[in-house]
């Protein structure tokens, strides 16, 4: 089942749901015919859409709102923070083409600071599914919860069957004593391959965790990885600032744990746009490249 079908099923069962979009219909093309006046397209007006969603929520509605992730999270940021955040209204934000998924669009369309921004809003939950299967497993509880939430919509098919989603819990794919990779979103598939490369060629014991829910984050999972004495690698299509690397650093510091953490993310630059596979290579996100980086860095750590 895909995003749109799940949305239709959910909305058909719950009259409170209103589907909104700021004229980004990629995920909701067939919704108008089904939902009628419970589908609202506000045109290219992210701020107004968010403000109206807050008003609808005041009337008891649960708006599920859509726009490209950068325009939702950034153009409308202050409306999200002020109208949804301060009032803690149950508005569900679906950000389309987050992170690397903006491929050829260029820096205007790159939401690679969205996790940082959204998790900075008190009460806002943040989810970043690994692929479509993960997305389908995460969305039902997100939409049913009374909290505001931002979802990095990743509708790309993966080749992994994920565990059911428990709110606030990460998905532990494997445990490892040498290195554990923490990852979220689109890069999960490449992280999985990276793990296989390291195991096969280096005979390393490699753990892998699909973080899924970045807020609330599964602190226990992070602490357990560190407690096992494993080095940690964070992989994310996000700036190094404010995303998973920061979350892990905060968690370890809070728990007074010190272990090597290797970030694989974007530094102080937006990525060079292009065909996704080429962007991955150019930015060093191919499994071979990441495996090599992890190998070299862990060797240095050992010395």
């Amino acid at each position: 089942m895909g995003y749109e079908k799940l949305l239709i099923e959910t909305a058909m069962k719950d009259e409170r749901i209103i589907v909104m979009t700021a004229e980004n219909r990629a995920l909701v093309r067939n919704i108008p015919a089904v939902l009628g006046n419970r589908f609202i397209d506000t045109g290219i007006t992210e701020q107004t859409m968010v403000g109206m969603a807050a008003g609808l929520a005041l009337r008891g509605r649960i708006p599920i709102i859509h726009a490209l992730a950068p325009f939702l999270a950034m153009r409308a940021f202050e409306f999200i923070r002020t109208d949804i955040g301060i009032a803690r209204l149950p508005v569900k934000l679906s950000g389309y083409i987050p992170g690397l998924l903006s491929d050829g669009n260029g820096p205007t369309h790159q939401a690679i600071e969205d996790v940082s921004l959204m998790r900075g809003i008190p009460g806002m939950e943040v989810y970043a599914p690994a692929d479509e299967d993960d997305l389908m497993k995460i969305l039902p509880s997100v939409w049913a919860s009374p909290h505001p939430a931002y979802v990095r919509v990743n509708h790309k098919a993966g080749n992994f069957t994920h565990d059911p989603h428990t709110p606030g819990k990460a998905e532990i794919i494997s445990e490892g004593s040498d290195v554990t990779i923490l990852v979220y979103g689109y890069l999960f598939g490449n992280a999985l391959e990276t793990k296989l490369i390291l195991e096969k060629r280096m005979s390393m014991s490699v753990g892998l965790v699909n973080m899924r829910s970045l807020k609330p984050v599964d602190e226990e999972a992070i602490v357990n990885v560190a407690a096992q004495g494993s080095n940690i690698v964070t992989i994310e299509d996000h700036f190094k600032t404010g995303g998973l690397f920061s979350i892990v650093a905060e968690t370890l510091l809070k728990n007074r744990i010190s272990v090597p953490v290797i970030p694989i993310s974007f530094g102080e630059h937006w990525f060079r746009p292009g065909i996704l596979t080429e962007v991955l290579e150019n930015e060093g996100f191919l499994p071979e490249q990441m495996a090599e980086k992890i190998m070299k860095t862990t060797e240095k750590i050992k010395l």
């Binding site: 609202i40 506000t42 007006t45 107004t48 403000g51 109206m52 008003g55 609808l56 009337r59 109208d83």
Partner: protein, 287 residues
């Protein structure tokens, strides 16, 4: 139906009390006194006549909604709500006490406040969301949002008008408190707005411009617009910043004021007809 003489007298007397509360709130840390005084008649009229909302139906899905988008006018709202029994008048003494929620901008934990504001240009959209739900449910709630005139600098307001008219939200009334000033300057000296009614008309609204301190004029405006359908309703209420206190009326530097108790006593006298208050507190520059 025309306002009766008796009703007008009631509203005038309520407005006077609200202005006393505003003067009181301008001491002990101060408030945005000018912007509050300019919309006293408007808020008093809305709660006395137009909005079918009272202290007993605050949670009802059938109530009418008022949103204060400019936010700085909240002392006028609090004065009105307290006098109408939404919460005890005594509570106004908690102004700027961190243990209560009465401060320079609206907080919806105060009974009668529908939503918080302070960041300008937000509540037309929030109000439009409420109005849209009322439309979908085919209900009859009235939704009113008060904006400042300086606030009209914010592009989000015009964006929302386009959207609200696309959805035919004729149950939404936007009232501009046209007191001619934004924070530190006359609107026409900084970012000119006139001819303002034309701007709203070109955005597809039904517009009426009226005297904003006259209850009968306000009533005529609301009654007249009520008969117009299909478009967002806009009332431009021409007002005077600082209305009721000649020593601060229409003065660019009397925006946010923190007066001493002695000055407040003199302002009370001025409100009741004594002239010649000497204000020695400097206007605070908070922005």
């Amino acid at each position: 139906m025309m306002l009766t003489k008796e009703k007008q007298k009631q509203m005038e007397s309520l407005a006077l009390k609200v202005r006393e509360h505003i003067i009181q709130m301008s001491t002990g840390g101060g408030c945005f006194i000018g912007a509050s005084l300019s919309c006293v008649e408007l808020i008093v009229y809305l709660y006395s006549e137009w909005l079918r909302t009272d202290k007993d139906n605050l949670k009802s899905i059938k109530r009418d909604y008022l949103f204060l988008s400019k936010g700085h006018d909240v002392p006028a709202l609090y004065g009105t709500l307290a006098e109408l029994g939404f919460f005890p008048v005594e509570r106004l003494k908690n102004h700027l006490n961190p243990l209560d929620n009465i401060y320079w901008h609206p907080n919806r934990n105060i009974p009668g406040v529908e939503f918080h504001s302070g960041s300008l240009g937000h509540l037309p959209a929030v109000a439009a969301g409420v109005a849209l739900d009322v439309k979908i449910k085919k209900a009859g709630n009235r939704v009113v949002v008060i904006t400042g005139d300086g606030e009209l600098n914010e592009g989000s307001i015009w964006e929302t008008l386009l959207v609200a008219n696309a959805f035919g939200l004729d149950n939404l009334t936007l009232v501009v408190d046209r007191n001619q000033f934004q924070a530190n300057a006359k609107t026409e000296d900084l970012i000119p707005l006139e001819p303002l009614q034309h701007k709203f008309i070109s955005f597809g609204c039904n517009v009426i411009r009226t005297e904003g301190h006259d209850f009968t004029a306000l009533d005529l405006a609301f009654e007249h617009l009520q008969k117009q359908t299909g478009k967002v309703k806009v009332i431009i209420a021409d007002t005077t910043r600082g209305k009721g206190l000649p020593s601060i009326e229409a003065k660019a530097n009397r925006w946010f004021c923190s007066f001493t108790d002695e000055e407040a006593i003199n302002l009370m006298k001025e409100l009741h007809g004594n002239s010649g208050t000497i204000l020695y507190s400097e206007t605070l520059t908070v922005r």
